[in-house]
Symmetry: D4
Subunit: 253 residues, 8 copies
């Protein structure tokens, strides 16, 4: 029962149009049907501050087109991750306003409006092979209205490359550090900056890389505190977390 | 070589007090001794915004007493994690101003100064068995000058307990959600709030809990975005990450 | 040797039609050939209360057609799981009465007869990607003569969706809760209902999902008791277990 | 806001003691504070049909005594699992009516009332080393008011022992089959009975037994359908699941 | 019902001492009580050719004494593995004829009678740290009446030691090759002999030895065929398998 | 240097045809070139009692044709495992006497000569999906000159099928028991027979079957002694081990 | 800022061409832009003694062509690993001087100049299936200017093959020993030589080979000291390590 | 049979003191007893260039005393690793010339003679908790006659500490880099130096550190080539490998 209906019911009661017991039962029934509107019955954006983002893997092109139709009508802003080029072509044919970001394998329904005075997210990737994952993080965070820079290919095999750009890195409000193989870059970075570091392991590597598990373990066991780790290849999750962190700053202003 | 000394050297050169070659060698030597002051030669607090926190495990009481002596003289604020009661007794005997927080197994040298207008960290734990880990997170974050609340024992086995306190939970600027066993609580919470959620798995459980690995995997695979995960039982890391996230907000003010 | 034949043999002995030693050898031989009829020599349906269900994976279309021919003649009711569309086409061409359920990837030889006054199985799936597995469970349980409802897409990333339908969920006699990724939904549900919950992990996810192992571990380590777990993607096993549980109720009537 | 308070508020509104808008806000606020009473605010026993059972591991004797004091006053029936003999002695000293079942390592506050006409749970254990776990399952299920039989030491190393008692086993309404090492017994039993089988792996074994993981995998991969598996050594969970299954039968009567 | 009793029953029937229906029921009942005598109702020694050997781990001294009392009366020959020195002292005090083999941690009730013209088992261990496991294999096989030699400390770190004794090794009818760490010795031996090789991994090692898993994997992946592997530290199993293999030879004579 | 050449050299020395030092150097050189003929310089068949069997996987058809050409010339009997139908066609085209056994995926150069009075190997497989692996074991053992029987599809899901054929199974001198999924069949069989049992796990299964690891663990942790385990899907290894075991018996005759 | 530029700046200051503050800022800026020249600002070859070697996997042919263009212009010597034949064809079409080594799957821009009086690397592989990995090691080490020999197919299944060539093996300055399956060969070799042994596990094998993990564990747990292990299939890393080790010898001359 | 004895035998033959056939048999017998002296019959020090070093773990004090007695008489130089202080006290009481290095947990029989003009090994450890392992490497390498420096506590959490000492690090001929937790230090160092780097993972850490496996994986997956990895906590192996590498340089001089 939403507030509007509740108000009407109470007015009716006030005006003698129903009995107290009837009203008690009606309100209780409304609650029984769902969670009370006041705490949970919000749309996702109200609950978590983010629009829902569609996970494209395992959905057919037809399903994706239908979801975009429904969500574009309702929300305006729609994004989808893990969309193959073939599926993307079909969706953008049906919805010409939707743009496909091929490196990120993402669809975005319209240019996001960049927040005024928001913080800056910097994404650092260890190698060019990590680029797809870094791009998923970048487009996600940018699509949510944030300013995002990407610094590519400065892994620990030549640590001087990272040190070289340290002044620039230190300007970030939040860092996403992307690495496969041994996953050491986030540890090194986190030891040198004060911003929170989101460690994003990738499945790049072979042999005992175990599809990214070695990188993940490296990040979880970092001797540098101030790191939060997300799932392997989960650029989307890293982008959302960076967005949530920047919102803390915005709320405080 | 810091800027002050460099300036003096160059003035000396300008005034004919030394030769060009001598100056070249002195500057090069200074660089050889350390990283150039401009980018790396800060103390840790300058680099990462946090004092160093001593890892007490595997250190003898004598080593701990000595480290506290040295650091108290230099920094004033000293903290140590994973200190057993036996060791703590010896350290506090030598340094009476140091206080032992038994549940957190931490030593703290003095009451931290709470930041004015800082954000609020809320720590939610799934069960009372997770309390030690939650307390390590709490004392760490509090010792770094943050306001921290702890909400205990509201795990998913009775999800209504968490929903019951949702309004309170939503007031947090950053959340640390602590859980062992199946580690589901952070996912449920992250689906209902807009604040960033730090997921902190504990080794509580048995059998296929695998010492916390089941909880960790649950958190990494969360279908709710906006989660950053730390190592199993790593309350210290979670506290530092929460502190780093709140600093983003402070910088923006 | 079944009871009928035994009776005939003993009558023959009683009437002098054979010698004691001949009878001893015949009975011993009968036992040697198989387990004694009294305890083991039933057909599967008698032993376990369920017809055999064919595992279609790794069988050629020709083998499947032959198996269906043999079993249709003998049992009337035949089901097969994990049958690809290509194989299904060949089997249904040969046996036009057999129907292919594409989402479940199952073949069923005829509409099952729904039990009168039987209990209700409800299957809850966390996401649409888990649908194939949920459907295998649904068709299996339905094919065994049970009433089955399917409630789709109410995972923990938005727990309010599940709470919303709690009254409906509580009407189930047995619940099958299907989830991939972190596998938290069965724990949350089991904490809110009194019916037995069958937890069915799926291989949906990526990275540390480890092909469903993360979901499985989440379910095995559930802090909510009253859960029984089946193998990853094993909708068939979940359907059979639900059927076995409902039979307990039927026996008691 | 519970029904009583809601009724008072609406009477006040009806009698002109407050405005409609005030009442709207009050009701909304009440909902914001907790989940609506109608769907979730039950006691655990109402929600899940089982009293809460205390997990004794990691709790101090003092905590256990206090919990028993509180729960005995409220619920009458209290049980605790994983209580060491030392802790048990202190609890039973404080609460003389509480009995310690040493093999099960459980405390039970009073003899449960056995249900009339309830089903029968049979627990089968593969070896005497599995007895502690089997006993935890037995006392849990018995404490919840069920009739439980225990058949010990009939593992697959001599399968004739199990076959020997098959007629007896087939009389069970629910079976809990306990096994360590290779965990094959539940598969063998499930292929011979129609009752639902709860497979309970134990950590008995060495080497590649991996603390029960080998037994667990054996049970999850059983080629016999109709099995539900619980965590390693989780006799408590198996007992609760058996109880939940028998309730299905009771409801139907 | 054994053949003797069956014969008596049928004679009674033949002589009119009972009715056909009575006899049918009696035979069926006999079968219901156990497996028919013809195929399964043997004692273990008859079924598997080996006396039962008691697994001492997890049994109390009192239980062990009782088991020895019962089995000594019935079988004469009794063995127990994994018996600690403390337990052994109590058992040998109660049964002075029982001897404790401390290196093997085994109890044996009497000197076995060595088979005439039996084959020879040779046990090769890679290092002295593997000796406990090798001894368990040796005493088990010897206790079952076989001739067993033990060649110690000829691991692959100095392969010449093994090659040095190759002529001797080649005289074995069955080989048990014991190794921890990388577990390479069985592969090397199996490439040089024609006898069957039982590979027995031990938990000797550290780090990535993973408690014997590295050695086990080494043996399972051996590029030399003709190897059968047993569980980590399972000297008992290796001894039994060697005994079973030698029996093949004896049967043929 | 073989014995013949050594003899000639020494005769030459005896007859004054060379100097002592020359002979010393020649003998030393011969040893340096290879292992001394007395212990190691045999052909494989002499060393291990088995011809080399070619591992076809990862070899090109051309390589296989060449290897067969070389080995046919030298040994007469040649076998190759893991040969795909495509490769087999090319090899049999080049060497028409070679026969392809498609179920086993093996090439065999000629009918082996069955040993007179040799033992009998029986191969038992749990399910028809295990047939490929069982066939590799069968053709290997048969190709080495043994008598082999195959009993298919008697897994533990209906244990009565195995008990039914127990008398037949007990006639084996060596058993190879093949099973995927939970891998319980070898344990059950080994508890009922006196012959050595070779446990052969297959990768049949899904989910937590982990490509055969669950079956392997089940076999390694068997509570029935007298089992030797080979690698997953390693029918070739099982066949060779069975052959080696039967040779023990033959040697004794 | 390199020493030359620093010198010029200081001369300018000395000669009054700039102010002290300007010089301070210029030097600080130089440091801020990169690491100080004294410790880190070398090219890779200067830092690590090796040219960069391109990792071809996951790069498009166009990217590879571009990288070769850039690096050929700058360095003369360029190598790339893990280049498929298809990509290689496109690169060699664009850069005809580049040669493709198909077995090694590597591109090399020109014949390396073999070092005078350098040491000898010998690469030993256990089986022909390991050849691709061995070849990657060989071409890498050879491309870096070393003398390399390859000894193929002398695995432990017939250890006499290795012993046969021991004199030759002992002439190596550094050994790379390549093995899949159980990975025992490096242990055996390391026990017989004084040269450092680089153990290179391959993913050759099946079942519990776990894609090379079994071989890797075998090498890490070797009971023979003096082994250094590289990642599974990492011929490139082994070649670089061998090169680095030989440089130790060269430096000393 | 060694060369001296062979010579005598041939002289006897030449002088008619024995027959050709007798000599043939004697030579063959000598070869049968061992490997021919020419290739394998060296002492360990001759074979591998290192004295045998005793592994103290799992040996009793009495065994250690006896081993030292035997080896001191024969070799002069004796070392033992993993000796607890209690055992060390007993050995040094019996052999007063033996010195116990407590941090390394090693016994060394006498000061080694440092090689003239040998190379320099530098050992870098990430944290003080890694010191025990670093010390085992240091004493091993020093005991083998090498010059060894130890640089402690310069892990990646503050990478500037390592960069600070880079000039010093670059003077090493061989580096051993010791790290637990995420194990990133060897990668960072290997990217900055030309010397071979031995990566030595330690079991320092908790949670997902998995007893050193995370550090090990980090090192095996290093994106910097030129690394060789040893087992977790295997300081002894690292010391031996460093010694073997330096010998390459020495041979070349």
């Amino acid at each position: 029962m939403n507030e509007e209906n509740l108000r009407k019911l109470l007015q009716k009661l006030q005006q003698g149009g129903c009995e107290v017991e009837e009203a008690v039962q009606a309100i209780a029934a409304g609650e029984r049907d769902g969670l009370s509107y006041a705490c949970l019955d919000h749309q996702r954006q109200q609950r978590t501050g983010r629009p829902e983002i569609v996970f494209g893997e395992g959905k057919t092109p037809a399903q994706l087109v239908a979801i975009f139709s429904a969500m574009l009508a309702r929300d305006g802003m729609v994004m989808a991750t893990r969309v193959s080029p073939e599926k993307a072509e079909l969706v953008t044919a049906a919805h010409p306003e939707v743009v496909y970001y091929a490196d990120a394998m993402m669809l975005v329904s319209k240019e996001p409006q960049e927040k005024q005075n928001g913080g800056v997210i910097k994404i650092i990737s260890a190698g060019t092979s990590d680029l797809h994952v870094a791009e998923e993080a970048r487009v996600t965070a940018w699509g949510l209205g944030n300013k995002v820079d990407l610094i590519n290919d400065i892994g620990v095999a030549g640590i001087h490359r990272m040190v070289h750009r340290l002044a620039e890195i230190r300007k970030a409000d939040v860092l996403i550090v992307v690495a496969g193989m041994e996953g050491a870059l986030p540890s090194v970075v986190a030891g040198l900056v004060s911003a929170p570091v989101i460690a994003l392991p990738t499945s790049v590597g072979y042999g005992t890389g175990l599809g990214g598990v070695a990188a993940l373990l490296g990040m979880l066991n970092s001797c540098a505190p101030g790191l939060g780790v997300v799932n392997i290849d989960n650029g989307f999750g890293a982008g959302c977390l960076a967005d949530a962190i920047l919102k803390v700053g915005e709320k405080k202003k």
